[in-house]
Structure formats: structure tokens, C-alpha cells
């Protein structure tokens, strides 16, 4: 009761709990609503200026992934533009390309891609590679036709005897937003949940009202903590569900399981994060230190929970550290359930882990009680 009253009395906190997570989710979702990176600004350096090289230009300009912004007269000019940041890469057609090709030799077209920006580099690679292959195919096809390889099939087989088809399961569009938002939005929510927990409990220490807090709860630290955290739990679960609705409903992120599974996972996730933060503040009974710790861990979890670089590819210590955070388990549940829609049996360990967090702070609650009865605020 006191907990909810305090929440209402602190509209700023309520704003941080409700509006900010939703605004941030909307920001991330809206930012990447395009799905795949398209129209990366690139340039062409055409030293050949023949009908063949112009055909390549036309093909390239038809590619979705890249957008030909400029034409440069030399490699140096294009490089300068790349250093200025005007373009992310360029396609270089060498001198006398058409002449050499028709003469039966093999000139080399090169594409220069700036890998300092990772995501656009893949779109460029796809576009540039496809254009070079297409051009090549057209030439070779004409030649093979000429020597009498008539059937389409045998031409294809001669050009590409083996063809691999890579299927991205459940995200065949390689939609960047689908993959990123599924991990980043809950991770942001976790940050808010943890910090709200430490803020509300920590401010009791700070304002030296922790004794009063325990007394209102009839001297029971369990009642006190529950009374304080449950209103937040309710709010955060609602906010979490809203972010899920935004993700899966409004922005069409794949949801291949029963919606209730993910909603249930969200409930556990919010509780686990609260329990984790409670554990931290029990362990380090200092408002600032607990908040600092939650901040640093929460920020790090964006990296070491393995959303971009897979956890198994990191140094073993970071791999094992990632399992310390509730986010890692929730991420694996989302992947298994929402994205891949496999049987819940395979996620059992992670569900169990999320439940396990709830037990974590219990042994330390007495310590919290001790600190509440004798509050000591160290700034």
C-alpha cells in the first residue's frame, strides 16, 4: 500500500517506468522498420565508359541494397568521398574492360566496401557481388551459346555446377529489426526494472525512512519488500506486455508460439530482474553502489548476452558470465519460442533459471532488514 502511494507521489518515477520504456521501444522499432538495410550510398568509378560498363551501372542502379549517389573519375576521388563519409563503398570498372573481355581475356572489376560500418557492408557485398556475377553470366552465356551448348540447363550447370541455397529459418528476409529488437527492447526494459527497484529501496535508506518502512509492514521484511515491489511488478508487466504487443502485433516480429508463452515469460522476466536487483541491493546495501552495479551490469548485458556476437564465440569467461543475467535466459526463450516456435521443453532450463532468480534474494533479506533498522546513508 505504502509502495503504491509512493509511486503515485513520484510522477517522475512513474514516467520513467511507463513512458520511457515504451518510447524507447518505439524508437528502436521505428528506427529499423525498414527491415533490411537498403539504398546504401555508393559510387561508381567507371574508367571504361563502354556500352558494357554502362550496362553494369544500370544493373547496379537496379539493386535495392545500394543507391548510386555519385560517379567519380578516379579511384582517388572515390576514396576521398569515402573518407568524408559521403559514400560507404564504390564499384570500380577498369580501363578497357569491354575491349579485353571481348578479346577473350579476363579483366577484374573491384568493389571497395567500408567494413567500418558493419550492417551496410553486407548490403553492399550482396549488391556488388550479384552485379559482377550477372555480368559474367551474361557474357559467358553468349559465348556458350556460340559454341553450341544450347540447353538452358547445361549452360547453368557449366557456369555454376553446384548451387547452394541458404534458408534463414523464420527470418528469410534477414530482417535486421526482427532480430535486434527481440533482444534489445527487453534488455532496455530490464535496465529500467532493475534501476527502479534499487531506486525505490535505496531512497528509503537515503531519506532514513527505512525503519518506518519496515514498521508499516509490521516488522516483516518480506511484507515490506513485497508491498514495495509488487505495485512495480504490476506496472512493469503491463509495460512489458505493451512492448510485446508493439513488437509482435504492430511491427510484425514473428511470434510462432502461443502468445501466452511469451507473456508468461515476460512475467517471469520482470520478476527475475526485480529479484536480481533486490539481491544486489541486499548484497551491497548502499543506494549509489547498488545502482552503479545494476547500471554497469545492465549496460554490459547488451554486449555479453550474445545478441550480436554469439556468446559461444566470446572468451569462455564472458560466455559463462552471460548466464548470470536474467536477460540471457529471456533472450534464449524468445529465440526458441517466439522466433523458432519449438517445443517449450527445449526452453525448460531457461524458464527454471528465471524462476530460480526469485529465490536468490531470500537468504539476504535478513541482511536487508538489519540495514533498514539501522539505516546508514553513504552518498
Amino acid at each position: 500500500m505504502r509502495g503504491s502511494l509512493q509511486l503515485v507521489q513520484r510522477p517522475a518515477l512513474l514516467f520513467m517506468m511507463i513512458a520511457m520504456p515504451l518510447l524507447c521501444s518505439w524508437f528502436l522499432l521505428d528506427l529499423m522498420k525498414g527491415g533490411a538495410v537498403e539504398g546504401v550510398p555508393v559510387a561508381i568509378v567507371n574508367l571504361d565508359n563502354s556500352s558494357m560498363s554502362r550496362a553494369i551501372e544500370r544493373n547496379l542502379s537496379a539493386m535495392q541494397g545500394v543507391n548510386i549517389k555519385r560517379h567519380y573519375a578516379s579511384h582517388g576521388d572515390a576514396m576521398k568521398a569515402l573518407q568524408r563519409g559521403d559514400i560507404h563503398g564504390f564499384f570500380l570498372i577498369p580501363e578497357r574492360m569491354q575491349e579485353l573481355t571481348l578479346g577473350g581475356r579476363s579483366p577484374m572489376v573491384s568493389y571497395y566496401i567500408n567494413y567500418a560500418y558493419f550492417t551496410p557492408s553486407s548490403s553492399q557485398y550482396k549488391g556488388f557481388k550479384a552485379v559482377s556475377m550477372l555480368t559474367n553470366g551474361a557474357i559467358a552465356k553468349t559465348m556458350l551459346d556460340a559454341v553450341g551448348l544450347i540447353s538452358e540447363q547445361s549452360i547453368a550447370a557449366t557456369l555454376q555446377p553446384i548451387l547452394t541455397h541458404v534458408h534463414g529459418i523464420n527470418n528469410p528476409w534477414t530482417n535486421y529489426g526482427y532480430y535486434l529488437n527481440m533482444s534489445f527492447i527487453p534488455c532496455l526494459l530490464a535496465l529500467f526494472v532493475m534501476l527502479t527497484t534499487t531506486t525505490t529501496i535505496g531512497s528509503e535508506f537515503k531519506q532514513a525512512t527505512s525503519l518506518e518502512w519496515i514498521n508499516v509492514a509490521g516488522g516483516s521484511v518480506i511484507v515490506a519488500t513485497l508491498g514495495k515491489l509488487l505495485p512495480q511488478t504490476v506496472i512493469f508487466i503491463a509495460v512489458g506486455w505493451m512492448t510485446q504487443a508493439l513488437m509482435f502485433n504492430s511491427y510484425g516480429i514473428p511470434l510462432h508460439c502461443d502468445p501466452w508463452t511469451m507473456m508468461g515469460a515476460m512475467v517471469l522476466f520482470v520478476l527475475a530482474n526485480q529479484a536480481f536487483a533486490l539481491f544486489v541491493i541486499c548484497f551491497v546495501p548502499n543506494y549509489r553502489k547498488a545502482s552503479t552495479l545494476c547500471t554497469l551490469l545492465g549496460m554490459m548485458s547488451f554486449s555479453f548476452c550474445g545478441f550480436s556476437l554469439p556468446a559461444e564465440s566470446m572468451y569462455p569467461i564472458f560466455n559463462s558470465m552471460s548466464y548470470v543475467m536474467p536477460m540471457r535466459h529471456f533472450f534464449l526463450i524468445s529465440v526458441d519460442q517466439a522466433l523458432n516456435g519449438i517445443d517449450i521443453y527445449y526452453s525448460r532450463i531457461h524458464f527454471a533459471a528465471l524462476i530460480g532468480y526469485l529465490v536468490l534474494p531470500i537468504p539476504l533479506l535478513l541482511r536487508l532488514r538489519h540495514n533498514c533498522v539501522k539505516p546508514l546513508y553513504v552518498p
Binding site: 567500418a116 566470446m314 517445443d343
Partner: protein, 399 residues
């Protein structure tokens, strides 16, 4: 209220405000944690996390319905790539799927029954590859390795054919090559870290300054509107004095993060040192003014965290390192333009990775100075009208 200032005394007051701020920073462990510890430890931690750069040996299983010498050759070639590791054969797709569900593997290579037959007949042989899409990097690695194997094996077969068919496949075609710029390792770490190195400075400053301000507010609350540790001066002088102090404190962490850490981890470092330092100067000043603007949202020392921390993620994305700015909507581009880290990271990456000079990045450099001006005005306004409004120091001014 009538105020009289002696403008000539401003530099002295600025210095005094600076010294006062330095004292406050040095006396505050909580702030020092952010100003010094975070800006020293975070670059190292992040670099270590991403130091493996790439996912190597992504585990895949093979469903070989053909069981021929040719299909085994494909699997051997695939296993030999650094990107992929074949952990075993599965009897059928169902078994492979179970392996995938149990997270033993992240990809399935399916060689159809007629693989060798097609190759022998001179028809096109197909290989199906199924990838788990939970982490894009795994998909990318599987895609790259299978493409490489496809091209190598294809060229072997073509060569064998060329001796039979009287044509020369190699001649009369256009070859192509990729040249990786900026990040020749094509690693994730070398791509992400430069941006993080730049951002850590800004974010730790926002948090530290927020805590300082929160502490001052707490003191005011306790002492009835007076902050005994504040140096009382005109708003402009206070703001500039503090910025000077922040600049002094950050000189070492900035040099360390921007120039030394890349040496430790061998990240791209093609930038001229002088130019990087020249870029860091307006960046740090703009960060300080921005931090002093953002402190308006801070109510108490510790609530800095909940109100400020999430901005890191927003600013990372606005800087365009993950999702390119060219694909953002105008709203987010404009918002990104207002954040110093956007320009600083763009400039820093261009210099360190692509070897640009400051002259090539003059736009980013200029924008940083523009932001300095913008946030100076906002910080002074906030200092004069908001931060001090209710808790104005009632003592008479001393000058």
C-alpha cells in the same frame, strides 16, 4: 534583482569555479567511479568481449542423403573453412532438427539424393542449407562459408569440364574481387568498438555530472536552499568553469580511450594523432555542456542512473553504427545530429578506420563546435533559470 558584474573578473571567477568543481569531483568517490574507473575499465571490458571479432566454427550438422564421394568432398571442404564446423551427420532432417532445438548446432546442410548424379550428368547440383536466425552473425558465417565452398568446388568442376569441351571458361569473362576497407579483418569488434570508445566518454560524463548536480541538490535540500560547496558566480562563468574542470579530468581518459586502447587490441588506427586530439577537444566540451543541460532531469544523486542510463542505447543507435544513418527517417537523423557522439564517432571512425584527415571530416568537426555553442546556451539558461531558481543562494553576491 539588480546585479552588477565586473566582466574583467570573469576569467578569475571561471578559474575559481573550475578549481571548485575539481575539488568536488576529487572528493566524490561515486563521481570518480564514472569519470575515471568507467572510462578506463569499460573500453577494456568491451574490447575483451568483442576481441574474438567473429563467430568461428559455427556448429552445423549434415544430412547427407547421397552418401557419395562428391557429397563427402563438399562436407570436408565446408568443415575446413574457419567459419563452420561440422559436428556430425544426422540420419534425416527430423534428427537434425532435434539437434538444432537442443542448441547443439545452428545450421543444417542437406545434400539431396541426386547430388553426385547431377554432377556426373553435367547438370546443376543443389545443396540446401538451413540456418538458425537468432544471431545474424552465425547466419552470415554459414552463408559465407557455403558460398566459398560452392565457388571453389564449381571452379574445380569447370576446369575438369574445360578439358573436354573445347572452350575456355576462364577467358573472356570478368573477374571480380572484393576489397575490404577500414576494417580489413571484417570483424565485429573493430567495427563496433571505435564507436563505443567514443561513446563511453560522453555517457560517463553525463552520469558523473548528473551525480554531481544531484549531490548539490541534496545539499541544498539539507541546508535549506544553500549549497555550501558551490562556488557562487554568474551562470555563464559557472558553466564554463565546470566545463574546464571536466576537460581537465577527461584529458587522460580521452587520450587513453581514443589512442591507447586501440593499440592494446590492434583496432584500426590509421588516424593522425593530432587530428584525433583536435576532434576530441570540441567533443569533450560539447559533452560537458550537454551533461550540464541534461542535469535538469536529475532530482537526486542516485536517480541520475534511472533517468540517464538508457540514453546510452539511444545514442549508440542514433550514431548510425548499427543501423546506418542513410536508412533512418528524417526525425531520427535530426535527433542524431544534436548528439555530440554522433559526430565524434563518425569523425573518429573515418580517421582511425579509413585514414581520413581532419580536413576530410571538417563537417563533423564543425558540427561539434556548433553543438558546443548550442549546449552552452542551453546549459547557461538552465543554470540561470532552472537549476538555481527555487534554491537560489540567498547570500549577497560577492562581486
Amino acid at each position: 534583482m539588480k546585479r552588477k558584474y565586473n566582466i574583467l573578473r570573469w576569467p578569475v571567477h571561471t578559474l575559481k569555479a573550475c578549481v571548485n568543481e575539481l575539488k568536488l569531483v576529487m572528493g566524490d568517490v561515486g563521481v570518480l567511479v564514472f569519470f575515471v574507473l568507467v572510462s578506463i575499465a569499460y573500453p577494456i571490458l568491451y574490447s575483451l568481449i568483442y576481441n574474438t571479432e567473429m563467430a568461428h566454427d559455427v556448429r552445423v550438422v549434415v544430412v547427407d542423403d547421397d552418401r557419395s564421394a562428391e557429397s563427402r568432398e563438399f562436407v570436408r571442404a565446408l568443415d575446413a573453412t574457419s567459419e563452420v564446423k561440422v559436428i556430425g551427420y544426422a540420419a534425416n532432417m527430423q534428427e537434425a532438427r532435434t539437434q538444432m532445438c537442443e542448441h547443439n548446432c545452428y545450421g543444417i546442410i542437406n545434400l539431396p539424393r541426386d547430388y553426385a548424379l547431377c554432377l556426373g550428368r553435367g547438370e546443376q547440383a543443389h545443396v540446401n542449407i538451413y540456418c538458425d536466425m537468432s544471431v545474424m552473425l552465425r547466419y552470415r558465417q554459414i552463408l559465407m562459408s557455403t558460398t566459398a565452398v560452392q565457388l571453389t568446388l564449381s571452379s574445380h568442376i569447370q576446369k575438369a569440364k574445360a578439358s573436354v569441351i573445347p572452350i575456355n571458361i576462364g577467358g573472356g569473362t570478368i573477374d571480380n574481387e572484393q576489397v575490404a576497407l577500414g576494417n580489413t579483418a571484417m570483424g565485429l569488434g573493430s567495427a563496433v568498438l571505435p564507436c563505443i570508445l567514443v561513446l563511453v566518454l560522453q555517457q560517463s560524463m553525463i552520469l558523473g555530472v548528473g551525480m554531481l548536480h544531484g549531490g548539490a541538490r541534496d545539499r541544498r535540500r539539507r541546508f535549506g536552499g544553500i549549497d555550501p560547496e558551490e562556488y557562487d558566480a554568474v551562470a555563464l562563468v559557472s558553466v564554463v568553469g565546470r566545463a574546464l574542470a571536466h576537460l581537465l579530468v577527461y584529458a587522460v581518459p580521452a587520450v587513453y580511450a581514443l589512442l591507447v586502447v586501440p593499440k592494446f587490441f590492434d583496432f584500426p588506427q590509421n588516424g593522425p594523432i593530432i587530428d584525433i586530439v583536435a576532434m576530441a577537444l570540441p567533443y569533450l566540451i560539447a559533452c560537458s555542456f550537454m551533461s550540464q543541460t541534461f542535469k535538469i532531469f536529475v532530482r537526486g544523486r542516485e536517480s541520475t542512473f534511472i533517468t540517464m542510463v538508457f540514453t546510452s542505447i539511444i545514442f549508440v543507435f542514433l550514431s548510425g553504427i548499427s543501423w546506418p544513418r542513410s536508412s533512418m527517417s528524417q526525425l531520427w537523423i535530426t535527433l542524431g545530429n544534436m548528439v555530440p557522439s554522433t559526430w565524434a564517432s563518425q569523425g573518429y571512425i573515418a580517421m582511425q578506420s579509413n585514414g581520413a584527415s581532419l580536413a576530410a571530416q571538417s563537417h563533423a568537426y564543425m558540427m561539434l563546435w556548433v553543438l558546443c555553442g548550442f549546449y552552452l546556451v542551453s546549459a547557461v539558461l538552465i543554470e540561470a533559470f532552472v537549476a538555481r531558481k527555487q534554491t537560489r543562494n540567498p547570500r549577497k553576491r560577492q562581486y
